[in-house]
Amino acid sequence: MGAASDSTQTADDEMGPLERWTHGVVNDQEKRNRLYKALFYVAAAFFLVTTLFPFYWLLVLALTPSVRQADWNVSIPLLGEVPFPTPQGFNVYAFVEVFQQVPFHLYVFNSFVLATATTVIVLLLASLAGYVFGRLEFPGRGLMMLAILAVSYFPPAAFLIPLYDAFLGNAVYIPFLDIELFEPPRLVNTPGSMIMPFSALFLPLSIFILTTFYSQIPDGLEDAARVEGTTRLGALFRVIMPLSAPGVATAAVLTFIAVYNEYFFSSIMALQNQPEQWSPLVGGILSYQTQYTTDFNLMAAASIVGVLPMLIIVVVAQEKIVSGLTDGALKE
């Protein structure tokens, strides 16, 4: 509140300090800017602390060899004992141990393959659909969108058993009629058995995102591209998609991360939690949680190791994709 100090004394005599300060803020642009700045930094700091604290906690857990005996209180002058976790010991060995037990690199590789393939498929299909829904007028449009959306209403478990059956190589029957259609190949333990359901399940979200963003690109730009010699699809990939970069990048990041974190399907489709069976990273981490439920430090260390690749993606790719491409966004 030092902002008030430089306002002239005479005029402010009758006002209290707060009033004086508000007065200053209302009337003085500089002060207002400073207030915005301050508010902004407070908000940013708040968000940072709240999002990062759980990670700090994870780190504390990983470094503390015996979590059970730990004392999470720190004493702070005046306040006395305050519950705040700090590492009790410094056992970096947990991280080494994690690697000794589980072939993390293989799990990570699997996750990347699955996530990348799914993301590509989803973006491609969702772009087509987003273009259709966002930029074309045709009968049945609203209804089809609702139908696609309805797919995401169902708990994943609703899809699981028939898909699992089919992916096991069992014959596919027409529902209610018991007429055998065909016998699909056995897909369990292959990437296909995961990529296909992931694509279908994450598709609605991306379709809706892209529909929204594609519909906002001015017609003139598509027109220009078409006159210049592209097909409508060409215009979609050359003009509309790049111009919707923030939306496309968001859809991509959301899909990628969702697949990376998916476990419901992959835990079933990869019959065992083995990297050879395309079990993803979450499976690897989970094998810690489920097998050794009280080795908190190992669990935490495994989690941190599992999160690191994502962290790198988020820091590097996210920035590259979102702001790299936003240069092209509709800023004038």
Partner: protein, 400 residues
């Protein structure tokens, strides 16, 4: 290098008819300007030709092909858009070369052509700027370059020079004309600039409310407008119109009469509107004796507007200087005339003057339909003019 033919094209948006049964035949290699008031359907017509908009009815033919259902890319057209529509995610070079890259020209050829085109529009050295770093005029020039770089059969240009300064506009006009000659392309051009339409086009198509009014060479449109709309629209400042009655002896208006033999004319009724362009009115004292001048008309000068190369004089026929008179409005009021004179003419505001009309430039239109009855009454008159004027009639004349 291709004829463009619109056959009964109609384009309807929900409740608005943007283009109304348009029949337009543009010859191979022709340069046609579309002009008309804002919102009359020019851009829609262009979009129909480009294939960006499907006509509600009618067919579009380019060359010998019915292209009504062909996508834009297969029509061999290129277009400069009214709203410019640069791709914000590409720099100038990429914008200009977009169409060439789509067609997989090799890099050298692309470079050569882009350089050439950017020379034409004077954008050298700006090739790697982003559109957001360009001024309005520069953006428009990029749009032009993007269209011309491809050398298509048909150019569609929707107000391509609107954002350019006079000098550059003149330059661009020249370049476009040169291009037209060199490439022998058909050019369809929308403009609001009369000078542009007059100097560049082989023919001008005047459109109003979605309907084609006239398509003719510029001077024909100027001198022999088919109807009052065209007469008023072409020419700046606009033609003066005075309503009157046709008698056997000529025309009677509230403020003056013109004598001529109206036998040969066949209007639907006697209500006619006379039209005269500002430059066809002259001060009696300066009148060129060679031209067939009309009866003298007494008037008062109202506002003088010096333009540098000429002066616009607003004449009040009933002597009353209308309150809150603003210059450009004058020609629309029936008791007022706008004339243009040489810049060194000595005349002051609020003076009494006698003016004469050039009888060969007097146009007559049916008041009801607006259709032209005759252009020039010089040949109709049986004798030299005799003064039979009714100067300074009371007020009246507020017919609308």
């Amino acid at each position: 290098m291709a004829r463009v033919h619109l056959d009964d094209v109609t384009k309807r948006y929900e409740d608005i008819v943007a283009v109304d049964e348009m029949n337009l035949e543009i010859r191979d290699g022709e340069f046609v300007c579309l002009v008309g008031p804002s919102g009359c359907g020019k851009s829609t017509t262009m979009e129909t030709i480009a294939g960006l908009t499907k006509p509600t009815e009618g067919t579009v033919t380019i060359g010998e092909t019915d292209v009504t259902n062909l996508p834009p890319k297969d029509r061999g057209v290129s277009m400069v858009f009214q709203n410019i529509a640069l791709f914000p995610h590409m720099n100038v070079y990429e914008n200009i070369s977009f169409g060439l890259r789509l067609r997989k020209f090799d890099t050298d050829e692309i470079d050569r052509r882009v350089e050439q085109a950017s020379d034409v529009v004077q954008l050298e050295g700006m090739l790697d700027r982003e559109p957001s770093e360009l001024s309005g005029g520069q953006q428009q020039r990029v749009a032009i370059a993007r269209a011309i770089v491809r050398k298509p059969d048909v150019f569609l240009m929707d107000e391509p020079l609107a954002n350019l300064d006079a000098k550059l506009r003149v330059h661009m006009r020249t370049e476009l004309q040169r291009l037209h000659k060199q490439l022998d392309t058909t050019i369809i051009y929308v403009t609001h600039d009369q000078a542009e339409a007059m100097t560049m086009s082989d023919r001008i198509a005047v459109i109003n409310a979605g309907e084609l009014q006239q398509i003719d060479p510029p001077l024909v449109c100027y001198n022999e407008p088919k109807n009052r709309f065209v007469a008023g629209f072409i020419g700046s400042p606009s033609m003066n119109f005075v309503e009157g009655n046709l008698t056997d002896d000529g025309l009677t208006t509230d403020h003056f009469d013109l004598e001529f033999d109206s036998d040969g004319l066949e209007p639907i009724d006697d209500d006619v509107t006379m039209g005269i362009r500002p430059e066809d009115i002259s001060l009696e004292r300066e009148a060129d004796s060679a031209t067939s001048t009309s009866e003298t008309i007494e008037a008062r000068t109202d506002v003088l507007e010096p333009m540098g190369d000429e002066i616009f004089i607003y004449l009040s026929l009933d002597g009353a200087s209308s309150e809150m008179m603003t210059s450009n409005e004058a020609s629309t009021a029936s008791n007022q005339l706008l004339m243009s004179v040489d810049p060194d003419t000595e005349v002051g505001e609020d003076e009494s003057v006698s003016v004469v009309l050039d009888r060969s430039k007097v146009h007559l239109f049916e008041t009801a339909s607006g259709e032209a009855i005759t252009h020039g009454i010089a040949d109709l008159s049986d004798a030299t003019p005799t003064a039979s004027v009714a100067p300074e009639a009371e007020s009246g004349g507020q017919h609308e």
